[in-house]
């Protein structure tokens, strides 16, 4: 009996959606992008009480450049594994489940739904034995870790692209068209990987 009683939490977990387990994670990024990208174009590091408008950053919370980086990697279909040295890495302060919730910044809209699309992309792009998971042969946390890793690798590539742009022109992303143009070009010929690469080279 006591075993069943002790499982009470496990039963709850069983009903919990995997996206929620994933949502408790804080994806990591390479520390070198903290200064060169994150702080350069977002309010990352300013803190919740900071006056976010002061520096006139293009993006708000630190997850926003992360999302941009992820989608750049996703559409370019390029992943760069994170450094194996944990000292080189840093986790984002905000767990995924808060991403895109209504920002305290003025004139911004919530886009919490975007999380699900990121999740969908991760499922699509990550090689996972979902049958084994459903059977209980592998732990859900293992699967979520794989999903987060995929995310980190796409974002890691995206950050490298963004860093490159900023090296060439520190004000590159101040143009409201900069990110849009990147995405428009990356998604122009989705089926043709070669020209995608080319498009990115041109960026």
């Amino acid at each position: 009996m006591s075993e069943t009683l002790n499982n009470i939490e496990e039963n709850v977990k069983k009903d919990e959606k995997i996206i929620d387990i994933w949502g408790r994670r804080n994806p990591r990024f390479e520390k070198k992008y903290e200064q060169s990208v994150m702080r350069a174009i977002s309010d990352y590091g300013i803190g919740a009480s900071g006056n976010t408008g002061v520096k006139g950053k293009i993006l708000g919370a630190g997850y926003e450049p992360y999302i941009m980086a992820f989608f750049i990697g996703l559409y370019a279909n390029k992943r760069i594994p994170l450094s194996e040295d944990l000292d080189d890495l840093k986790g984002l302060g905000q767990p995924l489940m808060y991403w895109g919730n209504l920002d305290s910044k003025k004139y911004r809209k919530a886009y919490s739904g975007l999380r699900s699309y990121i999740f969908i992309a991760l499922v699509a792009k990550t090689d996972i034995d979902w049958i084994a998971l459903d059977k209980g042969d592998i732990k859900v946390n293992t699967v979520v870790t794989s999903l987060v890793e995929t995310m980190e690798e796409y974002a890691n590539y995206g950050f490298s692209v963004m860093e490159e742009k900023l090296k060439e022109d520190p004000g590159y992303f101040f143009s409201h068209r900069a990110f849009l143009d990147i995405f428009l070009q990356l998604t122009e010929k989705k089926h043709d990987d070669f020209s995608q690469d080319e498009a990115l080279e041109e960026l």
Binding site: F71, L114, A124, L133, G136, H176, F183, T187
Partner: protein
């Protein structure tokens, strides 16, 4: 003076010998930037210089020629003009020698400036300074014009005097004035001396003399006050002219300001409609999903495959496990009816009530029926205890794939939004771009209005908008003061007439008193001389007025021809209080146009120049050529065609250097616009840089002249 030929030798870009054979009519020299147009003009300026300045300047030397000289070699810079003046052909020639030393330095020497008359044996060579007689240096400003700014010749301080002296009938009056003054003074003196001898009329003469003295003083006071009042009126007039301008300006300002306000409003409204937070749109409006279609497809395929596999595996398991269980059950011999039917609660009730609730028959405790029901209940209770062991273990402990599948359903519902997103983004961008274009147009209009405003403010001598409006308000005050001054002048002039009459009568009486005496003779002579002097003065004024009116009439006639299809206005030429002349345009003869556009200004000023030229030729049969450097740069092609065709029909020598009539060819080369040239009557030269040349080396630049027609 008709220029027949201009020779330019080693002068700047004119390498070695070059010559322009000009006709007595319209001469057009066409060249692009850097082709030697201005150099042509400068060569003439240098040649015409009679004041001995800038004799030998190394900057005049052809770089190409000096570079190719061998050490100790030399050549000449020479500009010469062959012209006909009063039936004689003369050559004005200016030259100097330049020599290259062994260390590559170029030095100058052997300057000469000469005027050669005739040819062959009868050649008379004089100093070039004699050219002053044919073309006085102060007259050059009436024949040579650089750009459009030089054209307003009347603005220069002595231009009016030059005009009057050269072209009106009064040019020799000044010599007479001096004599008249001297003669009148002496005549009066002689009369006075003679009258002193007249004892009989002594008292009367004294009285008349007092009257004369008195009236002369009166007149002098009146004249002084008239002068003051005229000056006052003139000052107020000037102020009023400014205000008149300001009045116009203020009205203009009000309308310009209101247009600016409207445009600014329109601009901010348009700008407000621009939605260009594209980076934010990527997140807030999830534009970042614009390329998500393929990922979504990938997901759907993956999930569908997973679901199929999941079901297949489960079914397979259930079938296998079910078979095993069925065999076990048969071995156990369990009844067909499931153990849990009808259920524990109902069975317990039936046993307690000793009645079968299914068939309604009584089942007393201990009866077969009662015992059967008890056995069923026991069997059920037993089945509860054995259930765990017998139940089929579920194949899956989780249903995460189900979660993924549910998300896929929603994803498919949203797919159309994702696939159309890109198009919508592009539509919005196009919309924003259109708004940007609108803003650009508004900005261009705003720029025009700002420019107008600047001009309005600029034309009132640095007054600020507030000052200008303040001035505008004080217009009535100034107008009153001017009117009062004018009225006073009227009164004074009437008084002056009266005093003059008294004075004249006193003079007349005085001359009558002495009738028959020697004094009378002197008095009469003095009176006559006085009258002649006065009439000379009047004649000079009248002549000047006539001259200005004649120039005005001729100018308007030229204007009529030069500006046929456009607004003309009327040219007025007046002498200002300071003796300078002024030519301006009037609208309907009542309102002065203060800021005509450049093309209109050029046209009316050139009309004035042609008029002056025409009058000068009528006066002394000597025509002066007109030489313009790029006078029509503010003209449109159509206007320019018309303008040149009129000029070419004038019987006057005009030389124009211009870059008009050139057009860009398809390969970036500059071509002559032959269709336009064909409509021009006259001589046309094309000057251009000899090809090839090195655009970095001045020493490779050489102007070549081609006679087009």
């Amino acid at each position: 003076m008709i220029i027949q030929k201009i020779e330019i030798h080693n002068f700047r870009s004119y390498y070695k010998e070059n010559s322009f054979e000009l006709i007595n009519g319209f001469n057009l020299i066409i060249g692009s930037n850097g082709d030697g147009k201005t150099t042509f003009y400068e060569a003439l300026e240098w040649l015409f210089r009679t004041d001995g300045t800038n004799k030998m300047d190394t900057k005049y030397i052809s770089k190409k020629r000096s570079e190719e000289l061998q050490p100790d070699d030399s050549d000449d810079v020479r500009v010469a003009m062959v012209y006909e003046h009063n039936g004689k052909v003369k050559t004005l020639e200016k030259m100097f020698r330049f020599t290259k030393s062994f260390d590559g330095e170029v030095s100058t020497s052997n300057y000469s400036f000469s005027l050669i008359e005739g040819n062959g044996v009868e050649r008379i060579i004089v100093d070039g300074v004699s050219f002053e007689k044919d073309l006085p240096s102060e007259m050059r400003k009436f024949i040579m014009f650089k750009g459009e700014t030089d054209l307003d010749v009347l603005q220069s301080s002595n231009a009016m005097k030059l005009l009057v002296d050269n072209f009106s009938e009064v040019r020799d009056f000044d010599a007479y004035f001096a004599f008249m003054e001297y003669a009148t003074k002496n005549a009066n003196k002689a009369r006075d001396n003679a009258q002193k001898l007249d004892r009989k009329n002594q008292d009367r003469i004294k009285e008349l003399n007092r009257t004369i003295e008195h009236e002369t003083g009166f007149l002098s006071d009146i004249n002084r006050e008239i002068g003051i009042k005229e000056n006052e009126a003139d000052n107020f007039d000037k102020l009023l002219k400014n205000i008149e301008q300001s009045q116009e300006s203020s009205k203009l300002l009000v309308s310009v300001n209101s247009r600016i306000e409207n445009l600014q409003k329109m601009r901010s409204e348009t700008v407000a409609r621009i939605r260009e937070n594209y980076t934010i749109n990527l997140l807030d409006d999830m534009w970042v999903l614009m390329g998500f279609e393929n990922t979504a497809d990938e997901y759907s395929t993956k999930i569908n495959d997973l679901m199929k596999e999941r079901r297949r595996l489960e079914n397979q398991y259930l079938v296998t496990t079910g078979e095993e269980k069925a065999i076990k059950a048969i071995q156990k011999g369990i009844t067909d009816l499931p153990a849990h039917i009808p259920g524990r609660k109902i069975m317990e009730d039936m046993l307690k009530e000793e009645k079968c609730k299914f068939c309604g028959q009584k089942a007393p405790k201990g009866s077969d029926a009662w015992n059967f029901m008890l056995a069923r209940l026991e069997e059920y209770k037993a089945s509860l205890n054995t259930q765990k062991a017998d139940d089929i273990e579920p194949y899956y402990h989780n249903n995460y794939i189900g979660e993924l599948q549910k998300r896929d359903t929603t994803l498919n519902d949203n797919l159309s939004d994702i696939t159309t997103m890109r198009h919508k983004i592009q539509e919005l961008m196009a919309f924003n771009n259109r708004l940007h274009d609108d803003v650009k147009k508004i900005d261009a209009n705003l720029e025009i209005e700002y420019e107008k405003k600047k001009r309005i403010l600029a034309q009132t001598d640095g007054l600020t908008e507030e000052q200008l409006l303040a001035n505008y308000e004080s217009i009535s005050t100034w107008m009153d003061k001017k009117n009062r001054a004018d009225n006073r002048i009227d009164v004074l002039k009437r008084q002056r007439e009266q005093h003059r009459e008294i004075l004249d009568k006193a003079h007349l009486d005085l001359s009558k008193i002495s009738e028959g005496t020697a004094a009378a003779m002197y008095a009469k002579t003095a009176l006559i001389l006085q009258q002649i002097s006065d009439s000379f003065k009047n004649a000079k004024e009248l002549n000047k007025k006539r001259l200005l009116m004649a120039i005005e009439d001729e100018s308007n006639a030229f204007m009529e021809r030069l500006n046929t299809n456009d607004f003309k206005g009327t040219i007025r030429i007046v002498e200002k209080a300071n003796g300078q002349g002024e030519a301006f345009l009037m609208n309907n003869d009542t309102v002065r146009i203060f800021n005509p556009n450049t093309a209109l200004k050029t046209t009316y000023l050139m009309s004035v120049l042609f008029a002056i030229g025409k009058l000068s030729s009528e006066k002394d049969k000597t025509q002066l050529p007109l030489i313009f450097d790029a006078p029509t740069s503010s003209f449109t092609d159509a206007k320019e065609n018309e303008f040149f065709s009129v000029i070419s029909s004038l019987s006057k020598q005009v030389i124009i250097v211009t870059k008009s009539f050139l057009r860009d060819g398809s390969n970036g080369e500059v071509l002559l616009d032959n269709s336009r040239i064909n409509n021009i009557n006259g001589r046309i030269f094309r000057i251009e840089k000899k090809k090839p040349f090195d655009d970095k080396k001045l020493g490779t630049i050489q102007t070549v002249i081609t006679k087009i027609k």
